[in-house]
Symmetry: C2
Subunit: 184 residues, 2 copies
């Protein structure tokens, strides 16, 4: 899909196509449509990201709260969005054994309890072994830096979803930090 | 449901219950959860409305763009949210004859073309005869005043949805203006 095609879309089609760039937040795509025309993928995604950055803290936390747990209830119940299902599947999270799933559920619950939003990670840049390691690491970060880290993951997810839709090459996206790295 | 129950909800349950107070914008409920505890319905809804009021214009237009046309494609295809289906049904919009449906579709298209967002109206406070009249009237309003009018309708819809969930009595909500009234 080229940008001429994107720029020709009415808002209904635009929201149908780009409504889940930010998980379960079609409002962001619906707002971004106001900024057309877009010159390229970077320009288009910059409007998605600027909208998120301009939200008050409650709104940024709200964006995170619209994300599902990794290997959580929505995956078990088959209620993930198509994008999230694909991403969690690619990371191997759909085929965890019962012990690994339980371990991840416990870590997710600890994380939600500590930060008031779910653990968000660009699963396609991770794998079934790295996810619980990264979750356990971020569990010890400070709330302010963790909010920034999590929103950074939202943007990585959004970038990769836009790349899929536009048939472009992904930019170099920083992988999760190693186990012993510091919080941001 | 009393406020003690509401205030005891984790964000997952809160978004499940209140995620469609603002049509297809669970982000708003997910943000509002940050403001708990809530003292009563008025307090709770004031946080929903304050979030909308604080959005930039593109975000306010985005809220409107997440609404379906009245008697439009989503109704025909059975893809309305449960709340919107009930509201459009109560207004008699699910049983229009072909001529009336076509007339409304043409007015909806003119409105979208003029304002860049769909015609939004609290359908439960209207009926199948008043809807096209009100649409034709608002079609002639100025964009600035029409944005305010439409966001006012979003708030009436949200108020009535909250009343349904909390089993409260609705506040006196102003009905749509008469055919010959001025724009705001």
């Amino acid at each position: 899909m080229d940008m001429e095609r994107v720029n020709s879309m009415g808002f209904g089609e635009f929201v149908d196509v780009f409504g889940n760039i930010i998980e379960k937040c079609p409002l962001v795509a619906a707002a971004v449509w106001s900024q057309r025309p877009f010159s390229n993928l970077e320009d288009l995604e910059s409007h998605f990201f600027a909208f998120i950055d301009a939200l008050p803290r409650s709104g940024q936390e709200g964006i995170l709260r619209c994300h599902p747990d990794l290997a959580g209830r929505d995956l078990q119940q088959g209620t993930l969005t198509a994008e999230s299902q694909r991403e969690q599947s690619q990371a191997g999270l759909t085929s965890l054994d019962a012990d690994d799933r339980l371990r991840l559920q416990r870590l997710n619950a600890q994380y939600r309890e500590r930060f008031g939003f779910p653990f968000v990670l660009a699963a396609r840049l991770s794998d079934r072994d790295a996810v619980p390691r990264e979750l356990a690491r971020r569990l010890h970060c400070q709330p302010e830096s963790e909010l920034r880290t999590a929103l950074g993951e939202v943007k990585k997810i959004g970038h990769l979803r836009l790349v899929d839709l536009l048939g472009a090459h992904p930019a170099r996206v920083e992988p999760p930090r190693g186990w012993r790295s510091e919080c941001q």
